[in-house]
Symmetry: C2
Subunit: 111 residues, 2 copies
DNA sequence: ACGGAATATTCTTGTAAAGGAATATTTAAA
DNA sequence: TTTAAATATTCCTTTACAAGAATATTCCGT
């Protein structure tokens, strides 16, 4: 069963924007705080949540921290999502098969 | 920019399980409450959140309500997710191109 | 060793949201 | 037209969490 940690992490608007920013490559805490127009401590806190959810990883360079996306949770998300994308097609397929059977019956027993 | 409504809705464990249940087809409120081992009012409340997030739709049949998944939010989610799935490949491609350029330079200026 | 920059942490406060209990509403059945 | 079933809503309490302010920590340059 899917964990809700990923969804919780992405449910906060600032954190979602951080993830979208990091799509273009690693950023430091101050860069993120600056672009989101939030204060540094809030940026650090949100990054901590993203870190604990496994969405990002850090690389310490001197007194800076480069945060970057991790691929795994996105793959997890995709694996979870995939079946849903097919649900409606499958339902249609089932209807399709049903109609074909109906047609076959009519062929067997013409009025 | 992506809305956080979908993520918030899925961030609650009971609601995530409801969505996973509905993958197999529509269910009534009591059926859901029963399978999740929660009380009916909580089921109704969670379904209301899912409804307002656009994840499910209702069909009233007598005094029962059949809840079913809507396809749109899952498509939205996929469209949002798609670019992330390619990010790491692209990074690798860029590295690849960089290495090719490096190789080309070495060819121009052999030691 | 000292000062400043970059980041993390702690404490507090306000707010949103989840669960429980009780009740209201609608519909079918007797 | 009562009664029961299915569902929704309201009120209350508790908990989780986001933001602000202040402070701690770590590292570089001088």
């Amino acid at each position: 069963m899917m964990e809700t940690a990923i969804f919780s992490a992405l449910a906060e608007p600032h954190r979602l924007r951080i993830v979208e920013l990091l799509k273009n490559g690693p950023l430091t805490v101050n860069e993120i705080a600056e672009r989101l127009q939030i204060r540094q401590p809030q940026a650090s806190k949100h990054l901590r949540v993203l870190l604990e959810a496994g969405l990002v990883e850090v690389e310490a360079v001197a007194n800076r921290r480069n945060y970057r996306l991790r691929s795994e949770p996105f793959q997890t998300l995709y694996d979870w999502l995939k079946p849903y994308l097919n649900v409606w097609n499958e339902r249609f397929d089932n209807l399709d098969i049903y109609l074909q059977k109906l047609q076959a019956q009519e062929d067997d027993q013409p009025e």
